[in-house]
């Protein structure tokens, strides 16, 4: 597999321009946590790293795509600030996380990652460099392209730089062990997270507040280890159905799971799994207006699609793809419906 490692935005633009002329397609990769299909030249962000502009007093930062979450955390940590990105993936890149639209566990309190993406520089399938948004926490000047490219998986172009809104770090983080995290989470004011895993329930708080009963409390945020099984999926369901989702997941014998109460995301991992059970879980999730996304395929048969059903707005999505990347140079077919 060919691999290109551009060290400037101009190089990215000419890579895309050349691929377009030569009828080739490219696949953008961050840390490589999401696998790359064959037949494409991989464009890595590994040389596009570092902070472009950090303004601690404004609580904003502009960062290059290849910067890892660990590097960003170290820099922001010096000012006790956070971009509230995924907590347990220090080697993933900021660009990869934004492209995937991935959020961390603190989403219940701070909202999804997308709500903190205030600006972006992208290189479209034409090889044009487009700026959108800015380094401002509140801004309605033009269409919100930064939010649109968040979660686009590179389908509209290469995400080169990202501007993020920051939060002060939680001053008094605490982890409470909870028999019923859904209930405890709803009794507290704005908990940071309420997680349920195969080994118990945990509620995370940052305000000074006392749980209604005598729960066991530990200092700091003690996040569950990432799921590292051969097969990993995310079931995304309306938040009120997380309890039901957990019971389905237990029934079909998950090796690991992390359910986010109040959010609706349930990540599940299996050592071994019968494909029909995943199909059943997907059917249920889609019936309730949600989805089931295959994160790691392992030994699963290729016939099981990554995303499941095609969204109702696919016509508009295909037109956006056509208008930003007419020759399908950028991660072709990465999204559902061939977008």
């Amino acid at each position: 597999m060919n691999k290109a490692t551009p060290s400037s935005i101009a190089e990215v633009a000419s890579l895309i321009g050349d691929a377009r002329k030569n009828g080739q397609s490219l696949w953008f990769a961050g840390s490589g946590s999401i696998s790359t299909p064959g037949g494409h030249t991989v464009v890595s962000t590994e040389l596009l790293t570092g902070i472009v502009d950090y303004r601690p007093d404004d609580l904003t930062v502009v960062v290059r795509a290849g910067t890892t979450l660990g590097e960003l955390d170290d820099i922001l940590g010096e000012h006790r600030q956070t971009a509230v990105l995924p907590e347990t993936a220090p080697n993933r890149t900021v660009g990869g996380v934004i492209a995937a639209g991935a959020s961390g566990y603190r989403r219940r309190r701070y909202g999804p990652t997308r709500d903190r993406v205030i600006g972006a520089m992208i290189v479209t399938g034409y090889g044009e460099v487009v700026h959108a948004g800015g380094q401002l926490v509140k801004n309605v000047t033009g269409y919100d392209i930064p939010r649109l490219v968040t979660g686009s998986h590179g389908a509209l172009g290469f995400i080169a730089e990202i501007s993020l809104k920051l939060w002060p770090d939680d001053s008094i983080p605490r982890t409470l062990s909870a028999v019923d995290p859904a209930v405890l989470g709803s009794q507290l004011y704005q908990p940071t997270a309420a997680l349920e895993t195969e080994s118990g329930g945990f509620v995370y708080v940052s305000h000074v507040q006392h749980p209604p009963l005598d729960w066991s409390v530990s200092e700091g945020f003690d996040w569950p280890d990432p799921i590292d099984e051969p097969v990993v999926v995310s079931a995304n369901v309306p938040p009120r159905l997380v309890v039901e989702a957990v019971s389905h997941v237990r029934d079909i014998g998950a090796t690991r799971f992390i359910a986010q109460h109040g959010v609706g995301v349930v990540d599940v991992g299996w050592k071994e799994i019968d494909e029909a059970r995943i199909v059943g879980l997907r059917k249920w999730a889609e019936l309730c207006g949600g989805s089931l996304v295959i994160r790691r395929r392992g030994p699963l048969d290729g016939s099981l699609s990554r995303w499941g059903r095609t969204p109702g707005s696919v016509d508009i999505q295909l037109r956006l793809k056509e208008l930003f990347d007419p020759d399908r140079v950028c991660n072709p077919g990465v999204l559902p419906g061939g977008v």
């Binding site: 303004r55 007093d57 404004d58 639209g101 909202g111 999804p112 997308r114 034409y126 090889g127 044009e128 487009v130 700026h131 959108a132 800015g134 380094q135 401002l136 926490v137 509140k138 801004n139 309605v140 000047t141 033009g142 269409y143 919100d144 392209i145 939010r147 649109l148 968040t150 979660g151 686009s152 389908a155 002060p168 001053s171 004011y189 704005q190 305000h207 000074v208 995310s234 995304n236 369901v237 309306p238 938040p239 999730a285 309730c288 207006g289 949600g290 989805s291 996304v293 995303w307 969204p311 109702g312 707005s313 508009i316 999505q317 037109r319 956006l320 930003f324 007419p326 419906g337 977008v339």
Partner: protein
């Protein structure tokens, strides 16, 4: 048949308004731009909206959606003769999910009515623009509206999980959903704030916010606006994000006091209205931080509202500011720019200088915590040359904001008002990309054409060659 006859056949004569008086009344919103209305129609369901779009399309008549008409940027004003689709009758709260803290609501629901209805559940809709007694949720979605409390809670886009949308083709689709992270491009994110150019929103799934167990509202007086602005920058830099940080300058305090008697000090050069919410302990901690930063910047006093009625009165003063101005001059031009919060002191000084140079009466009340400025110019449009002076000064205020790393609008939108200033912040290529987003939803240019983007924004053809 004519377009009007077809619309009457669909909706009946009572819901198709084209009396000359209607056409005058609906030709503008609350800003200064006037447009030309062919007729104003009042659908009651999404299916009717879809049918209207199909009829308008057949007759090549552009469509402009409109809520309560409280917008200030001309986003609901047809710049070319168009059909105004009034969404005020889609005003049902369809269902409230107390556990998920969400509600499906019609775009015609009035912002404050929704929060009032949710009060018994201990919930509210967080975006709270100053016009919240009149403005609609649909209008909030169109402009990605803010308000004082979006400092901590985020603007409308953070509170909209899904929207039912009638497309430019007259199809009804849903963008976003009840479940998080819907696979595919997040069209919801770009529909919010699109000022009616990407389709007509006919139902909105809003995220509801729980009311805080404790709250402190603090009024702080300063000898000058510099002290107030420096205090805001200092509070943010200290690592505290309060629920709201609002500044009013001396002329605005005087106007408000004459109008609602909120107990603001008329001897202060500026006041800062700060609010912290949360648990009792975090509210106390936040209040102490604000007091200490204010003292470092020579605050004259800091008074915490002692009860709910005093708190309500302080907020009434803030939210009545624009009404108060109406008493001082027949017309006003309310501006909306945004700057990095660390640039507040410098940019405010430049804005006062511009007001003085053009000899204009200027009052300021603004969302200081977000760096969102609202210089308000009070004037009499009958005075010869006055409107030109006001608009020239307004443009300079935009330019000083942009020069400081800011942008054209923080919450009012671009509309017709700032469309031709988009080049101040975007290159031709950037604007072309925005025009492509619009074309993906509406390639025939039916939906609120002429707004948001300047003429000729689509400047590259399909081969990337400059047109």
């Amino acid at each position: 048949m004519t377009v009007i006859e077809e619309l009457i056949a669909l909706l009946g004569p009572e819901r198709v308004r084209n009396h000359p008086l209607d056409l005058v009344v609906f030709a503008k919103d609350s800003g200064v731009k006037k447009g030309e209305v062919v007729a104003a129609v009042l659908p009651e369901t999404a299916r009717e909206v879809a049918a209207i779009v199909r009829i308008a399309r057949r007759y090549d008549t552009p469509i402009v959606p409109r809520g309560a008409g409280t917008g200030l940027a001309g986003g609901a004003v047809p710049a070319v003769p168009g059909l105004l689709v009034m969404l005020t009758r889609l005003n049902q709260v369809h269902e409230v999910d107390e556990i998920a803290r969400t509600a499906w609501v019609g775009p015609g629901v009035i912002n404050l009515d929704l929060s009032k209805q949710l009060e018994p559940l201990g919930l509210h809709f967080a975006p709270d623009p100053s016009s919240q007694q009149a403005c609609t949720i649909g209008g909030n979605v169109a402009t990605n509206a803010g308000g004082p409390h979006c400092l901590a809670d985020g603007t409308t886009v953070a509170h909209v999980l899904a929207a039912e949308l009638v497309t430019a083709e007259g199809d009804i689709i849903t963008v976003g959903g009840e479940a998080p992270d819907q696979p595919g491009l997040d069209l919801r994110a770009v529909v919010v704030g699109s000022e009616g150019t990407l389709g007509i929103v006919t139902k909105v799934l809003v995220r509801l916010t729980e009311n805080a167990p404790d709250v402190a509202t603090i009024l702080i007086g300063f000898p000058s606006i510099e002290g107030a602005a420096a205090t805001v920058s200092g509070i943010i830099a200290s690592g505290l994000i309060p629920a709201a940080l609002e500044i009013m300058d001396h002329p605005m305090v005087e106007a408000v006091e004459n109008f609602v008697h909120a107990g603001y000090p008329t001897d202060a050069g500026a006041v800062l209205l700060a609010e912290v919410t949360g648990t009792a302990a975090s509210v106390e901690e936040g209040t102490n931080v604000i007091r200490s930063v204010a003292n470092r910047h020579d605050a004259m006093f800091a008074r915490v509202a002692t009860d709910e009625s005093e708190r309500a009165l302080l907020w009434k003063g803030r939210k009545a500011a624009f009404g108060a101005v109406a008493q001082t001059a027949p017309d006003y031009y309310l501006h909306d720019t945004v700057v990095p919060r660390t640039a507040l002191v410098d940019v405010m000084a430049k804005i006062y200088e511009i007001g003085d140079r053009y000899d204009l009466m200027m009052l300021n009340v603004f969302h200081a915590g977000d760096g969102n400025l609202h210089p308000l110019i009070a004037f009499d449009a009958k005075e010869p040359g006055m409107l030109d002076r006001v608009q020239a000064a307004a443009r300079e205020m935009v330019e000083v904001s942009v020069d400081a790393g800011g942008s054209l609008s923080g919450e009012h939108g671009i509309g017709l008002e700032k469309r031709d200033l988009m080049h101040l912040v975007f290159s031709d290529i950037d604007l072309d990309a925005q025009a492509r987003v619009r074309d993906a939803f509406d390639d025939a240019g039916m939906m609120n054409p002429s707004t948001v983007l300047p003429e000729g924004s689509r400047c590259f053809d399909a081969n990337g060659v400059r047109l």
